[in-house]
Symmetry: C2
Subunit: 196 residues, 2 copies
Amino acid sequence: MSDAGSLQALVQALRRLPGVGVKSAQRMAYHLLQHDRPGAQVLAQALQQACEHLGHCERCHTFSEQALCAICRDGERDATRLCVVETPADQAAMERTGAFSGLYFVLMGRLSPLDGVGPADIGMQQLLQRAADGVVQEVILATSFTAEGEATAHALSQALRRAGVRVTRLARGVPVGSELEYVDLGTIAHALADRR
Amino acid sequence: MSDAGSLQALVQALRRLPGVGVKSAQRMAYHLLQHDRPGAQVLAQALQQACEHLGHCERCHTFSEQALCAICRDGERDATRLCVVETPADQAAMERTGAFSGLYFVLMGRLSPLDGVGPADIGMQQLLQRAADGVVQEVILATSFTAEGEATAHALSQALRRAGVRVTRLARGVPVGSELEYVDLGTIAHALADRR
Ligand SMILES: [Zn+2]
Ligand SMILES: [Zn+2]
């Protein structure tokens, strides 16, 4: 395959994508080269454009093409509430609910000692500074309800409370529209404990 | 997210990869932008290089940077045997066995009426011409032992036999190193029927 070096290079490069092993990378490379060369060109350009133009918002850390993202620039938002989420996707989900009009801090990850992700990687210091700016009155922790998300919420909550900030957490409970019979037991137990 | 248009564009472009939905595409985009920007650059370049340099070998249809691939150019190979495989990966697997010294025809796919892949898409006509060149004495069908691979082998076999070409198929049977107890029943049944 010495005359297919650029094919090998493409397969290797695709393996840098998370969750893509050698079999998937081969399948992706064959598909693009055999059936969707325009798609390959579009992807190449999108990667270059994103690397060139996307930085991080100075205030909330989400991806942004400008120094401040659209939400942080929006003077209509309620600056006294700060919602902490793990990723831009979580932030987008929260925005889609239409139930939150405050500002955000995007951790761009979550604490994961096994993967070497510590407080500095999720910007804990910047969050503490941000929360102590005299405007923020409540920090709402909206990290995932997974083991790592809960550990992250716990660590942030302790640090923020030490700094005298009011901290709340999204309620755990039975998803709207669920029949109790099909909800996992841990969720039911938490919904019972957090009943109001 | 109007100020993150290049992020949206990247997520959309990643969805053109086979098997990648919106969640995976987001995860890939975040990973590259947050943790592996050099990887994003490498991938962009590999895509462009591959599109620019990779065509198809004129004789066997596999990906090649030259008019004839390295195997087809190799005068030491036995041109009387022609092995038909579905993909360059299958060809590479066959080469690694070291058990075949003939030439190849790479279908770059397999018949799949439901996906709109017909005889023209796998180069059946070119294979028939190739097999009737007066040099080839045996065509070995090495398509997958899946429903679609078997259907492809069946269709090729009929067309080749009509053209007077000798056709063989890889033997089905119990994988080397397997304990019979753990082999699926269909495989055992075929191994029994194909016993020699
Ligand atoms: Zn922002
Ligand atoms: Zn060739």
